[in-house]
Amino acid sequence: MDFTPSSSQQLLVAIARDFLRAQCPPELAQRLALDARGFDEGLWRRMAELGWPGLLVPGELGGSGGSLLDMILLVEEMGRAGLPGPFVGSAVVATSLLLGAGGAEQQKRLLPALAAGERIATLALVEETGSFDSRALTLHCEVPARLTGSKLFVKDAHVATDLIVAMRGGDLLLLPADRPGISRLSLDTLSGEKSFEVAFEGVEVDAADWLGPAGRGPAALEAALTAGALARTAEMVGAAQRVLDMAVEHARTRVQGGRPIGGYQAIQHACADLVRDVDTSRGLLHVAAWKASEGMPVGPDVATAKAYAGEACLTVARRSHQIFGAIGYCEEHPLHLLHKRMQAASLDFGDAGLHLETVAQAIGLR
C-alpha cells in the first residue's frame, strides 16, 4: 500500500503544474471560455511539444507509452488550471479507442499524428436519450451505405480532424470530420466547453470506415468510457483541490470583525469538510486509476469514484462560494469557471445515477 506517486509521476505533475500556471492562467481560461472558438493553437502546440497528447501512445507509434494512471495525474493538473480544449477527448478517449479497436494501418496513420498534436479526434457517442450507457445506442447503418442521424454533446467537434462514431451494439466508425454530409451545430454551455450536435445526412460510409476489425468495438468502447470517466473525475479533483486552496487562502487573509474569517469556527469547520471531500475524491480516483493501469477489473471502482467525486467536488465548490462571499460571484474571479467545469464533468461520461447503479449491482443488489 503506497499513496506516493513514483518519481517520474512526481516529475510529470511538477512540470505540468509549472507549465499550466504560466501558460494557462485563469484569465486565459476565462477568455477561451467566452470565445466562440475557444481554442489556443499555440498552447496546444506547446503541450504537444511536452509530449502530453502522446502519453498513452506506445513509443513505436510516436508516444511515450505512459500508463492510464500517469495520464490521470496529468489531467488532475489540467483540472486544477481549468485548462479548456480537446485534450481529454482526443488524447484520452479517442486515443484509447484507437489503441483498443484500431487496425494496424489505422493506428499507424493516426496515432503518431494524434501524439504529435497534429490531428485531433473526438468521440460522438450520446444520442437523444442523453445516456452514456453504450447499450442505449441506436444509430446504425448497413455498410456500405449512407449514414443519417445525429449525435449530441460531441466535444470540440469544431477543431477535430477525425470523428469516432459509436454505433448500436458498440461498433465504431472512424470518419474524417470534413466528410461531405457531416455538419455540426454549436451548443451554448455553462462552462464554456465547446460542445456540438453533429448531424449525419447521407454520409457515405464503407467497410474501410469501421474502426478496426469487426467485434473489437464494444470492448474498446467500454475501456474508453472508463478512461473518460476517470479523466473527468481527475478534472473535478484537480479543480476541487484548487478551489480548496483558494478558499483556505481567502480565509487566512480576508479580515472581518478585526480578524481573519478563518479564525471563526463557522469557516474553519467548512474548510475541514472541504479537505475531507477533496482527499476522499482523490483517494478513490487514484485507487481506480491504479487498478485500471494494472489491468484489474475496475468497473465498480471507477463508478464509485465518479459518483462520489461528482457530489463531493460540487459540494466543495458550493461551500467555497459561501466562504468567498460576494467576490466569488464575479466573472473576473476564477471560482465560477472551476465550479462550472466540475458541474459539466460530473454529468459527462455518466452521471451519479448511472454509476451508482453499477455500484448497486457490485454490492449484490438484485
Binding site: 469556527q265 474553519q268 474548510c271 459518483a307
Partner: protein
Amino acid sequence: MEFAFTAEEQAFREDVRRFVAEHPGERFSLDGMDAGYGSGAHSRAFMGALGARGWIAMTWPRAFGGAERPMFFKLILLEELAAAGAPFGPLAGAWQTADAIIEYGTERLRREVLPAVAHGKATFWQGYSEPGAGSDLLSLTTEAKRDGESWIIRGHKIWSSHAGIATHGLVFTRTSRETRRSRGFSMFVVPNGAPGIDVRPIRSLTGEIYHYEVFLDDVRVPADLMLGPEGEGFQALLNGLDSDRFWGRYYKAPALERVLRQLVEYANTTMAGGAPLGRDPVVRRRLAGMAADIAALRTLFYRAACLLRDGATITYETAVAKVMADELGQKLAQLGMDLLGPWGPLREGSRHARLGGRISHDYLTSLGHTIAGGTAEVLRTTIAVRGLGLPADRRL
C-alpha cells in the same frame, strides 16, 4: 502508487480468516457490551484466544516478546475481526498502551504489564475526562502528590469505557502547578482494585452499561507505575492522539461494510409492494451511495496508515478519518432504520425484531461516537488549524 496488499499480508489475512471461522464469536463469553464502534463486545476469553495465537504482541520488538511483524498486519487483523463481528473490544486500547510502555515505560511496567497484555489478560480504561473537563481536558482537577516512593492520587474521572471490567486504568493527573497551563501533567497505570478506587457504572441511553465514573480517594500508586515523563504527560498524550484516533476507529470501515452487507441482503429478500425492497430506485441509490461513502472512508484510513507506517508527520489525516467514520456510522444507522421501517426501533431480543435488533442498537451507540475521543466539532477545528493553518482562537 500501489493499492494492494503484499503476498505476505494476503497470506496473513487468510490465517486470520481461518482463525475467525474456527473461533466464532458466539462461542466466547462476553464481559462487556458492544458499543457499536465495530470492535465488538469486550471478551477476555476472545482476547485470550488472540493472545494464544501471538497476535496481540506480533508487532512488538523481540526483546519484549513480540515477533516484529509489520504494522500492516495489525490493519489486516482488525479488518478481518471487524468483518466477522468478533468480540475484540479491548484490542486497540491494549495495543496503544503496550506501545507507550515499550516506548517509555518503566522496567516494572515492561516486566509486569506487557506479558499480561500479550496474553490478552490486561485491558485498560482511560481516565482522562472529568465532570468539569471534557473537550477542555486541561481544566482537570485530579491531582497526584508525591509521597516517598509513591504517588497519592485524588480525583474523579468519568466516561471511562469498560472501567468496571478492565484490569488497569490510565489515569491522567496533575502532578505540579506550572506557569504553562499544558505542563505539569503525568499519566499513571493504576491497577483496578487498588485501595481507594471506587468504580461506578453509568447507565447509558441504550439501557446498558458501557461507561463508568471512577472516584480515586487517596489511591497510593508506586512511582514506577508512572507512564512517560513526569510533568510532560500532556505532550505525550497529544503525541499519541493521532494514533489513538486511528486505531480507535480503523475497524469502522469494515464494520460499516458488514452492516451494509446485511442491509443489502435484507433489501434483496424483503418484499415491499409486490417486489423486493432492493428494486426500489431510492433504496438502491441510497445503499450504493453508502457503499461509495465507505469506500471513500477506507481511502482516508489507508492513507493515514501509510503515514503512520512511514513515520511521516500527521496534522489532520487521522482527525478527518475519525470524523467521517463516526458521521457515516450515524448515516448508515439511519438508513438501516429507514429500510426496516416500523421494525427498526425494535430492540435486540424483541418479538419480530429484524436483523437481530442490531440496527436500533447501532443507531443509539452511533450518537456517542461523534463525541467520544474528541467531538466532531473539536476535531474540525483541529483539521482547520493544524491541517490547513487557519488561525487558532487564542481563547482555546
